[in-house]
């Protein structure tokens, strides 16, 4: 088992160094990036050692797969925007460090559950702060500046929100499932039970919409609805969520010009390829330019042509340079993570962990789907980062913290921390 651990990490390093090597041969690599790459590689191997020393017993696939995705992302950032890549390597190293910190310090992840309402208040408070003091960029007011460092509170809110959801749903599960108030044929939970959920949902979504972070609002909405469904297994909640979404969506469409533009450009980007349709048209040109095998790393044209190539549209550049094969590989890696998160949830021995792991899986899945469907014109485009790939420290850090929590859940299941006698089998390869 330990050997597999190690081999998977070597594969990650191979992805990183083959990529950086190709760029080096083409003369497109900043020398400082080589050093950064070495530091990062050392951290990955060191981490492997730490896991060994700690006797880590959790899911052996999640971390290497995430690292593989991240290695790919770093290579592409180095190719698209070396200046960003320099910073992103720093963020990657810091995030990896924080990940192991979480792994060590937050072994008893259940502590998080105690701060349910604090988490909720912090989440809403952060969003409110951003709305008032935030800095606008790319049309959305979603950055806060603190001592010269810019960060995106909405990313950190994801952690608080998931903790709140897991704790709240774990406690009110029964009441939500059975309901206490009769509404014709349906029995619904009363206000005291459902109130906190509704208040949190409405507040956070409203604040996100006010910041014009439509993509993140959509992610949150889906996470709320799907997690609620997963816990209660009541189809009613899903069924009700659709008309609510359509209603608010239409309202947004009628009220906001930028929403109308997004939809119009989704329906027909070719009508205005130099104006509003520019982004999506360039993204599709780039994806189509890759064909089956891709142009090869460093040969694509999308890296200069596609707007926001290092953030929202990074997948378009990957699809061009690695082709359909490479894009499918990225899709598969993400799907593996999502499914493994669900597996962790299914195997977890107590409710809070189960819900939290499922919530993390749902979050990762929706984020990936929304941005990838956006750049491939399957859905209207709402710019959100592709987890672990897009440039941006906040997103990277937050996703590694979530990963740390997920892995801790997996580990305590395997180690039987929470007092279950029957030790389940270890997930060995």
């Amino acid at each position: 088992m330990k050997k597999d651990f190690f081999i998977l990490r070597l594969l990650v390093l191979a992805i990183l160094w083959v990529g950086l090597g190709v760029l080096l041969l083409q003369g497109k690599l900043d020398n400082r990036l080589v050093w950064q790459g070495l530091v990062f590689s050392a951290l990955i191997l060191l981490g492997c050692l730490i896991e060994y020393l700690l006797g880590y017993k959790g899911d052996p696939y999640i971390l290497p797969v995430v690292q593989a995705i991240m290695a790919l992302g770093l290579v592409f950032l180095a190719r698209i925007r070396p200046a960003s890549a320099l910073r992103q390597f720093w963020w990657a190293s810091i995030s990896l460090f924080v990940f192991y910190l979480v792994l060590l310090a937050l072994r008893d992840y259940k502590i998080l559950g105690r701060y349910r309402y604090l988490a909720g208040i912090v989440a809403v408070g952060l969003l409110l702060l951003t709305l008032v003091f935030g800095v606008a960029a790319n049309g959305a007011t979603s950055w806060l500046e603190l001592g010269g460092i810019r960060f995106e509170p909405e990313e950190f809110v994801k952690i608080a929100m998931l903790v709140f959801l897991a704790s709240y749903l774990g406690e009110n599960e029964e009441l939500l499932r059975i309901g206490t108030v009769q509404f014709g044929r349906f029995s619904l939970p009363d206000w005291r039970t459902f109130g906190p959920f509704l208040v949190m949902g409405t507040f956070s979504l409203g604040l996100l919409a006010a910041q014009k972070s439509l993509g993140t609002a959509l992610v949150f909405y889906l996470v709320f609805v799907l997690t609620l469904y997963v816990v209660t297994e009541r189809f009613l909640y899903l069924a009700v969520s659709v008309p609510i979404f359509l209603l608010t969506g239409s309202l947004g469409y009628l009220l906001f010009g930028h929403v109308r533009l997004r939809v119009a450009m989704w329906l027909n980007p070719w009508s205005d390829t130099t104006g509003g349709g520019y982004q999506i048209a360039q993204s599709l040109f780039s994806i189509a330019g890759g064909r089956i095998l891709g142009t090869g790393l460093g040969n694509g044209i999308g890296a200069f042509q596609v707007p926001a190539a290092s953030t929202d549209f990074v997948f378009s550049v990957i699809a061009e340079e690695l082709g359909f094969g490479g894009a499918m590989a990225v899709l598969c890696l993400f799907l593996i993570i999502v499914i493994r998160a669900f597996v962790v949830s299914l195997r977890a021995q107590e409710r809070f962990g189960q819900i939290l792991a499922a919530g993390i899986g749902i979050l990762l899945g929706t984020e990936t789907l929304i941005i990838l469907a956006g750049v491939t014109k399957l859905l209207p485009l709402t710019g959100i980062p592709l987890p672990w790939v897009s440039y941006g420290g906040s997103s990277l850090l937050v996703h590694f913290i979530l990963l740390g929590i997920l892995i801790n859940i997996s580990h305590s299941t395997a180690a039987g921390t929470f007092g279950l006698k029957a030790k389940r089998r270890e997930y060995s390869a």
Partner: protein
């Protein structure tokens, strides 16, 4: 909770599969059409990395070539404006147009690329694209270009037996060699030299009567029956007039076409009915995309729909002599003429004869194949006979040649407003064994016989003065 997770997991897996179908759609199914989208700069940016192949005429004369001096590539066009806007241009700054645009994937060597070209692409080595040999004859092209000088118009010459494009001229033109310097003027001047007039649509005027003829013949018209033209007639309350209200007197089919008698074609066209008329138009390729290397605007019978289900009587009457809402590109008109010349069969037009890889191996040789069967052999003979009458004893006389029998038809298309008519002239020769079919249009040139016929005459004379064997 187990069931919930399982369902959600299945939902995510399904969504990812849908996403991968999306990738297949864009990266496989739509890859070519997106690559050719005019807003896509991929092909233009490739300019930087690839040495574009050359473009040659049928006699091997260089039409476009990339020269490298001190590592700097320049695209030169030895024939200058004679070949424009047909050949087009290819610059990093302004993109590409014409054949430089539509043949770009060959010229870059990315279509059916050889293993060597593949390797060069993967390793980003300096690459050489494929050479393209056209069916164009520079001599003919120059003759037509000179004949149209000072006018706004276009001339297209085809070989009716093969569909080869021998000349395709549009005036005014521009010099592609100093494009970057002169771009501002070229792109803004009112006469729009960048526009390829051969591929744009115009009302066909009386040249449309050759198409209407098919409908008349199929309606059982006896070509020897006489009709009395009194200078104008009234059909369904609408007055149909002759040009200058000229009375043609008693005419049969041949004489009606030769004298370009509107009332004859309107009367018998309405009698033949809109179905027969539309069927004839469809047979000649109206409303269809013309299979050609350049994008040609499809010809239309009505504004609402290219080929409507039926026409009302008034519109039908006007359409029979090419007014109303009928719009045809001069290129399509040349194809129609070639179809009549080739016993009713329109051959698929093409301008690329063959494509050669950098080692001069043939990677593509265009196949000669029919496109449409517009007329039966017998119908084609009857129309040809009338077009001969038009040259010998009718409006098309200015295009006659002393020792070669030409078959032709004129047109003077009204464009609305108080401006001179567009002059049309379509012709093929020799009438009994056609080697060349021509369509000429002169914008606001007045009558076809006066403005367009001399251009067609010069083209036919030049083409037939060369012995069969001279043209390869």
């Amino acid at each position: 909770m187990r069931r919930g997770i399982r369902y959600v997991a299945i939902g995510f897996a399904t969504s990812f599969i849908l996403l991968s179908f999306g990738l297949v759609y864009w990266q496989v199914a739509k890859a070519d059409s997106l690559q050719n989208n005019p807003a896509n700069r991929r092909l233009i940016l490739m300019e930087d990395r690839v040495k574009r192949g050359g473009i040659f005429d049928r006699n091997g004369e260089i039409l476009a070539q990339t020269k490298t001096t001190d590592g700097k590539k320049t695209r030169v066009y030895p024939k200058g404006e004679i070949m424009e806007p047909l050949i087009g241009y290819a610059t990093l700054k302004y993109g590409a147009s014409g054949l430089e645009h539509s043949l770009a994937d060959w010229l870059f060597g990315i279509r059916n690329s050889t293993p060597a070209q593949e390797l060069e692409q993967i390793f980003q080595l300096p690459r050489q694209g494929d050479d393209v040999v056209l069916t164009i004859d520079s001599n003919l092209q120059k003759v037509a270009f000179d004949a149209l000088k000072g006018k706004r118009g276009t001339a297209v010459a085809l070989d009716p037996r093969t569909g080869e494009v021998l000349a395709l001229v549009s005036q005014p033109s521009f010099d592609p060699n100093n494009l970057d310097k002169n771009w501002k003027e070229i792109s803004t001047v009112e006469s729009s030299p960048l526009l390829n007039r051969a591929l744009s649509k115009y009302p066909p005027g009386s040249t449309m009567k050759v198409v209407t003829s098919a409908a008349l013949l199929r309606a059982g018209l006896n070509t020897t029956d006489l009709y009395n033209c009194t200078g104008s007639t009234v059909i369904n309350g609408q007055r149909i007039g002759e040009q200058n209200d000229k009375e043609h007197g008693w005419v049969n089919f041949n004489k009606a076409l030769a004298d370009s008698c509107n009332t004859y074609f309107a009367t018998f066209g309405v009698r033949a009915g809109s179905q027969r008329f539309l069927e004839a138009a469809r047979g000649f390729g109206f409303g269809q995309k013309i299979p050609f290397e350049l994008n040609v605007a499809p010809s239309t019978v009505a504004n609402q729909k290219a080929l409507p289900d039926a026409l009302d009587i008034n519109l039908l009457a006007e359409s029979t002599f090419g007014q109303g809402q009928v719009m045809v590109s001069p290129f399509h008109m040349a194809l129609i003429t070639a179809g009549i010349a080739n016993k009713g069969v329109i051959m698929t037009p093409h301008i690329v004869d063959r494509v050669l890889d950098p080692d001069q191996n043939v990677v593509l040789k265009t196949k000669i194949q029919p496109w449409l069967e517009a007329l039966t052999n017998e119908e084609a003979e009857k129309v040809t006979s009338a077009m001969i009458t038009a040259v010998n004893d009718g409006t098309a006389q200015p295009g006659a040649l002393p020792d070669i029998q030409v078959a032709a038809k004129t047109g003077s298309a009204e464009t609305g407003g108080d401006v001179r008519t567009h002059g049309w002239y379509i012709a093929f020769a020799p009438a009994d064994k056609p080697q060349i079919a021509v369509a000429v249009l002169v914008e606001n040139g007045g009558t076809g016989g006066g403005s367009a016929a001399p251009v067609a005459k010069a083209l036919i004379q030049e083409a037939l003065s060369m012995k069969e064997g001279d043209r390869k």
